[in-house]
Symmetry: D2
């Protein structure tokens, strides 16, 4: 930590700072400048934060120079992690595609979407049973019925399932059906929920809040890690900016930035970022090229009748271009497309 | 709703839109322009949204022209509401000050803060027992022990209590102690929590998410209202922008904008907006002058040792300037400072 | 300046930093922490910036702790400045209202707007002759003809004139007609223009860029000051955020923040901030209450036919409420409404 | 255009709108809804804008549904344009790399940087002679001396030159040395400058303002086009958001969005977007993959001593990875790396 003294600070003000730091077991190094005096603190940041140094007379600014997260930081864990979900790896050597419908609407729609996903190269299925919607008048999901459908489709297709949980009280229920729990963007700082999934012993997909800094995102991951769960995959899905041409602004730079700061895998959601079907393909290519560890893509057998986010879901014909990209680009980046362990199970007739 | 057709849209494309709208029981009026054709829809917006018109061929844009909230809108409820919390009114004729410590730390600290608050003109006490913190290593609050302290201090001072709830599973517990439940900025779109407080039958203080549009904020209030609870007070507490000189940017314009759109009262938090003690007084004056229905202010008997947000809490000497402003400005705005019904109860000796 | 070393930095890396700083005539104080080493630099920041310390091996971050502006800073000039424009003071003891039409359209419209402005308490006239418009198809202003109209209206009404200049090549021309040169928001970092007005010897009204930080705004003022012109008034006019309910978000906190950092006066534009007529009155009250040194308000005799920003210009009936506020509120803030020296000159008949 | 009437609007209010529109030669189609009446306007938008419909009684909102730019729009010019600069094409079939030092410091530094650029696959040289800097105390460039150096280096290397112009009065001078004029991000809405380069008859590189919407950016291009100059290349260089981990947030989605709206080529600046050397390579890959028509990259023979933006300039060893990417990726996107016509001229000995 660095304490910057105000120009008008007195020697006594500086001594008050150094005295307090030393009384808390830390060391304080004073650099007296022409217009500013700076005090560098050595010791435990948490101890120093409790001192409220910013409230002392003559203190202009307190600058924290170390990150507020530890377990998810690469500082003490330099090797990048591989997280396995139902046997599917997500990490530095693979490109793992997770795809499926934004909302689970029926067994047929979900199975068809899963088969589309699989044929496009996806090795995991996503689908929403509990839907957090901005308006209470929008479709809210099928709840547990949706979870059952997802489990059935997993049995059919061999694709491990990730689905969102929005209430700490539902974590156990959702974990009993799903292979991975998704924390949505709006819940990224729902700390009760983070702690609940941290204790659930199931891998977690943590989407970035649409207005969260990277530091806040990694701090949210730290909440999960602190409860003993380090099986966390981060998902960049666009941030809120002044630009209105796209639903959100995909922060493509966040991928290499996060990979440098944290050992956790980071994937990209090209569907929610732009909110436009025509952007999914170029953003998918960009995500792979920037070095993402995976993708989360909306597909729907009939986007025109989708109950949620139909504007961005890909249809059967559109998914083929994605399939080509997923098959051809990862090797250029030194990655292999991840494969689902279920392989090619026989599929229910008539679908 | 308005559907804007792309320049290249064919007549068949336009007819597909109008046909779909009519099949859903709506009416469609077509305006053919030189470079654009526009279709105006008349009927129930929810029905139209289910049509996914944006997915149809030739559709450039779908513009919703009515608000996504109804119960909290002023459209069908033109008179501005007065919400009563433990006998204290919040509404168009009063200026209601809620003050207290960011976090409840001990009985003594809470009582002293409450007395400071009361002497400054506050008629309600706020204090956090469950604290949502960005870092898991920051102080997380006393939990139920904090709720008990708040109830005790209410008994001593006569000030109704508002405190934050962060977990749907805690709503009943918190409601058994508090007069009003606070939904914090980070939980503004925690829909499970919104629904839980909507069913709790206790007034709710709904802080604006730091990246929420006014429309999203009112939609969050609609979630609460939809469960039968219209005792909602909105609180503007600053939004996230690119400016770093202040912790957040107080969106002072939001107050008159919200008052025009919704009948719910709206108050301002000058402490969290700026995150700086020196800004609390000028922002308090600005909030009263712009027409806010109340204020939410951090006070602490010893800000230098506060366990949470000490940089912005006002001390005893600073609160006096606020007290002067609260006593003198509201009448100029046609308001009376709200009074707590508890009046001047005898206070525990020695405090 | 503070140099934060990366966790993996070696002793040699630290020595490279300290050696370079010392070779540039500075001093370097090293604080070795558990996970980070910090080097505090003492000396001339400009010298250190030329060293590109951020490029050295093992350097994580370089933090500048002093402001990049000097002449406009309050650090070496603690007393707040009073700027005089045609005899009208703008500074800490007055509230100076500048009003007029967004665009000069005709002699009649300008004179009528000026009389409206004066009757509302304005002591200066603003009006645009050169208009910077987002679209090349929008009204671009009357040019020099507009300047002549402004000068004529000044002669009629006694109100000093402020008008915008958008081209360094026009500065001399505009300065020959106007009492004060306005730099618009879009030109706040048009450094050629800033330098030109800095050399013009005429007071400058510097509007904040809609995406400029306070530090960038003061740095822009420094460009003007550096050419010898310290007669600068700053104008907060709203910043660009994600909120779309208002045209911009008035950053009301910027007023006290700037007044603490700089000795220059700062006024508020409640018209362009919100871009809505119904917000002008509440934002005017908020600006006075927060401590602004003045106001810049759009008025127009017939807003419905205005060629520029008619949505926000006040008409004759609306200006009365503003007049009341301008007459009654400043004394409560310890200020007097500023008066134009011209006083009540006889006005051309028939207007 | 669409006019949305307020719920309380009367029939007379609606007739006032339709009457005014018809009197201006337009047509008005009324859709009466349950809670809103909508009026669709057919005719010339510019005529309608002059009517200030937003000021009429009962009007809630006026929505423009067509773009404010025409000449640069793809609507009437569906084929994507190829712009040629000194014989080098920029357009849909090529990937054109422009590279060079942020600031021209000396003949040697510029030549070395140009050779680095060429060996990395660049076919054009960029370098700044007039530098717009946030602080007046930062390096401001060599001016005309820098232009001469650039022209000399062009003669040596065969690389056409793009350099920034910041003052309308300098356009002729800069155009006499350079092959392409750059408008920097801070000057994107410097309309006097846009008009000046529009009249200069030289290709223009128009960087996006860091807070400009895509619509504003294309409107700025329209200013240039309106003066008869359609040789415009757009450059995405990051936008200002709340995220501080990177200097700006590269809006990678802007590339496909712009390519859909406008026929002009669009390139990406991976150096200024992130402001970090370690991000240049991943962002370069992402830009090529998303479909950018070119790249603008900072290189410097000795980044550690660079007078401007040394933190992001690539050194000789780092440029090799870029060279590999530039050689291998474009064919996968159906593009060829653009070649400079100068080819391999003999280079001055000893460099």
């Amino acid at each position: 930590m660095v304490v910057v003294m105000a120009p008008e600070a007195t020697s006594a003000d500086v001594e008050a700072v150094t005295g307090l730091v030393r009384s808390a077991g830390g060391q304080a190094f004073v650099s007296r400048g022409l217009s500013r005096t700076i005090v560098g603190l050595v010791g435990d940041v948490a101890d120093f934060e409790a001192l409220n140094l910013g409230s002392l007379a003559g203190v202009l600014q307190v600058i924290r120079v170390s990150a507020p997260y530890k377990l998810v930081s690469r500082e003490h864990h330099p090797a990048r992690s591989v997280i396995r979900v139902g046997g599917v790896p997500i990490g530095p050597d693979t490109l793992t595609v997770i795809a499926g419908p934004c909302a689970v609407e029926s067994p047929e729609q979900t199975l068809r979407a899963a088969l589309m996903a699989r044929s496009a190269g996806a090795s995991m299925l996503r689908g929403g049973a509990f839907k957090p919607r901005t308006s209470p008048y929008s479709y809210q999901g099928l709840g547990e019925e949706g979870l059952r459908i997802l489990a059935d489709v997993r049995a059919e297709t061999g694709l491990p399932v990730v689905t969102e949980v929005i209430d700490p009280g539902h974590v156990e229920l959702v974990a009993s059906y799903a292979d991975m729990l998704q924390i949505g963007a709006r819940n990224m700082q729902n700390f009760a929920l983070l702690q609940a999934v941290g204790s659930a012993g199931v891998p977690v997909l943590l989407k970035r809040g649409f207005s969260a800094t990277i530091e806040e995102w990694l701090s949210a991951a730290e909440y999960i890690a602190q409860r003993g769960n380090l099986d966390i995959v981060l998902c960049e899905r666009g941030i809120r900016t002044f630009e209105t041409a796209t639903r959100n602004t995909l922060d493509i730079s966040a991928v290499p930035v996060v990979q440098r700061l944290s050992h956790l895998p980071v994937i990209v959601d090209p569907s929610h970022s732009g909110g436009r079907r025509d952007l999914v393909l170029p953003l998918t290519r960009a995500a792979i090229a920037v070095g993402a560890d995976g993708l989360l893509i909306d597909v729907h057998p009939q986007p025109k009748t989708a109950l949620c986010d139909g504007d961005q879901a890909l249809s059967e014909s559109e998914i083929r271009h994605i399939a080509d990209v997923i098959a051809s680009m990862p090797p250029l980046m030194g990655r292999m497309p991840a494969r689902s362990p279920g392989g090619l199970r026989p599929i229910r007739a008539g679908v």
